[in-house]
């Protein structure tokens, strides 16, 4: 979800830059306690891993790319403070060394992906870990859902930035943009959730000492100390509610400026533009993929269905997540099964 230069106005970019620096300083302060001999290389690996998975990206909106974000993975393995630093490092290096994401949009990108994404991922994850059984499947499922939540919410962070500082008034409402972003990112979130869940469960099984979210305890053993359970459960539930409800609320918001003629022209032209874009180098396939999402949402926008599309995306995500969780769980009919249904229904 890199934003390039020139999409968000100068003052808003600057404001976000200031906020990002402020929060990063906070993270640095907290990270100093965490960044010991063991965590330093892990932080580097997490950053490298995120860097690698972010290479697979495609356009979702003009000047904005879609790809895995990695905030929840980072939060699970190195904790929220170092995790936010890891993702920030990825973004800084990408901007400076790989010319990916605008240098002037660094504050925006860090706010969305590093700060918002990691924070949401961590809250949801820790909340779910309190509810789910401490088995490999439980941890994997928690990471899976946390990833989806973090990706979708980070995408909404962009929408907020666009509302505040978009350089141009659009015919499509913010609700639709929000739904588009949520829908696309719910799908991205599923992919990211699977990758993150596999990675974290593998590490948790062999080297539980490396999984920050488990606080060094082995699986199947209750964690000691920490913040009261209630806080995290409530936090996780609140985020899930925002996730499910927020998108639809935004989407049903204002179909302002909707005009049948404009939209007709828009779909046709959008197609034209996509064909134009697909000739660009080797990215053709990815590009068409991104483009078609956009076109789809454009068409459906006519009858206000975009909001629904976003909501369906989120719901679908959870459904698929549940299905995977159930199959995995049935396969390893393991410890503490009676806890699970409670957790799942609460999550819904």
């Amino acid at each position: 979800m890199h934003i390039s230069n020139g999409i968000i106005g100068g003052p808003v970019s600057l404001a976000y830059g200031v906020v990002a620096v402020g929060l990063l300083v906070l993270c640095l302060g907290r990270a100093r306690q965490d960044l010991n001999d063991r965590l330093a290389p892990m932080a580097g690996l997490v950053a490298a891993f995120i860097f690698a998975v972010q290479m697979l990206n495609f356009p979702v909106l003009p000047g904005v790319s879609g790809h895995l974000l990695g905030g929840a993975l980072a939060a699970a393995l190195v904790g929220p403070w170092v995790g936010a630093l890891c993702v920030s490092v990825v973004l800084i290096v990408q901007a400076l060394v790989f010319a990916d994401g605008g240098i002037s949009a660094l504050g925006l990108n860090i706010s969305n992906m590093a700060l918002l994404g990691t924070a949401v991922g961590y809250l949801v994850l820790v909340g779910l870990l309190k509810l789910l059984p401490r088995t490999a499947a439980g941890v994997g499922f928690a990471v899976f859902l946390a990833s989806i939540a973090s990706v979708v919410l980070a995408s909404q962070g962009f929408v907020l930035q666009f509302v505040l500082g978009g350089e141009v008034p659009l015919t499509i409402g913010y609700g639709q943009i929000s739904a588009t972003m949520a829908g696309v990112h719910a799908l991205i979130g599923i992919g990211e959730g699977l990758i993150a869940a596999v990675t974290v469960t593998t590490v948790a099984k062999v080297r539980p000492d490396l999984v920050y979210a488990l606080r060094g305890a082995r699986l199947d053993r209750p964690a000691t100390g920490g913040v009261p359970t209630k806080v995290f459960v409530l936090g996780g539930l609140a985020v899930a509610a925002v996730l499910a409800g927020g998108a639809s609320y935004l989407a049903s918001g204002s179909p302002d400026g909707l005009d049948a003629t404009t939209l007709e022209g828009c779909t046709v032209d959008a197609d034209g533009a996509i064909t134009g874009g697909s000739c660009i180098a080797q990215r053709a396939a990815d590009h068409e993929l991104g483009g078609s999402f956009l076109a789809d949402y454009g068409i459906k926008g006519i009858d206000n269905a975009t909001g629904l599309a976003g909501l369906i995306g989120v719901a679908l995500t959870f459904a698929i997540g549940l299905a995977i969780f159930w199959t995995v769980r049935r396969r390893r009919a393991a410890a503490a099964p009676e806890q699970v249904p409670v957790a799942v229904s609460a999550e819904k």
């Binding site: 390039s4 230069n5 290389p41 490298a48 909106l61 000047g63 400076l96 593998t202 533009a273």
Partner: protein, 256 residues
Amino acid sequence: MGAGHTHPMYVHGHSPVHHLAPEVKIAASVLFTIVVVATPRELLPAFGAYAVIIAVLAVLARIPVGWLARRSLIELPFVATAVLLPFFAAGPRTDVLGLSVAVEGLWAGWNILVKGTLGVLIALLLSGTTPARDVLVGLDRLRCPQAITQIALFMLRYLDVLADEARRMRIARLSRLDDPRFLWQVRGFASGLGTLFLRAFERGERVFLAMRSRGYTGRLPAALHEGTVATAGQWAVGAAVPALAVVVLLTDRLLV
């Protein structure tokens, strides 16, 4: 294996731009980009002038045009989707080539396209003339917090380790009669990914400990890159670029 061999974006060379200290180049790039972004989108000649500055720098750095073009293509699709904006924007409309487009949208699309592209080119000039590790050295000298440079250093090293471990695992599979397409079968892929992560971590951890046992304290010893510290002259040269951009911006402002 080791770190710092990742120079995917580095064009080897010995130009004056290559020899400029990394901290100077970073500061100049960031400032230049900010000037570009701060330029009102209507000042067309200013953008032309920026493009000329970039072209001159590219020639000085002896960066092949083909390389710049190929590299910027990677990022360009995201910027180029800006051509969609004229169709989505609200407000008064006009006809271009028989299509009805929004004036405001045209400007907005142009804004993203030109600032995005110039930004990409500036960043490419930086990364094409500065090895990744030197960028970190530069950040370090610009007083970037050590936690960040250290994570970044490990990140670059781990990119190598990941690639290297992935290569080893691939060869191991191949030589024992695996069809690489198997890699994409979900189970194999999933367990492969997890194992890759763990292996890479443990390799990297051992390398880290080996570094520690040779006295590493969180920052590369300055003696290893003493030769590249910026002189006052270099700072002056570096400052000239954004300064020139500001001059362009101001004169254009006054003229238009």
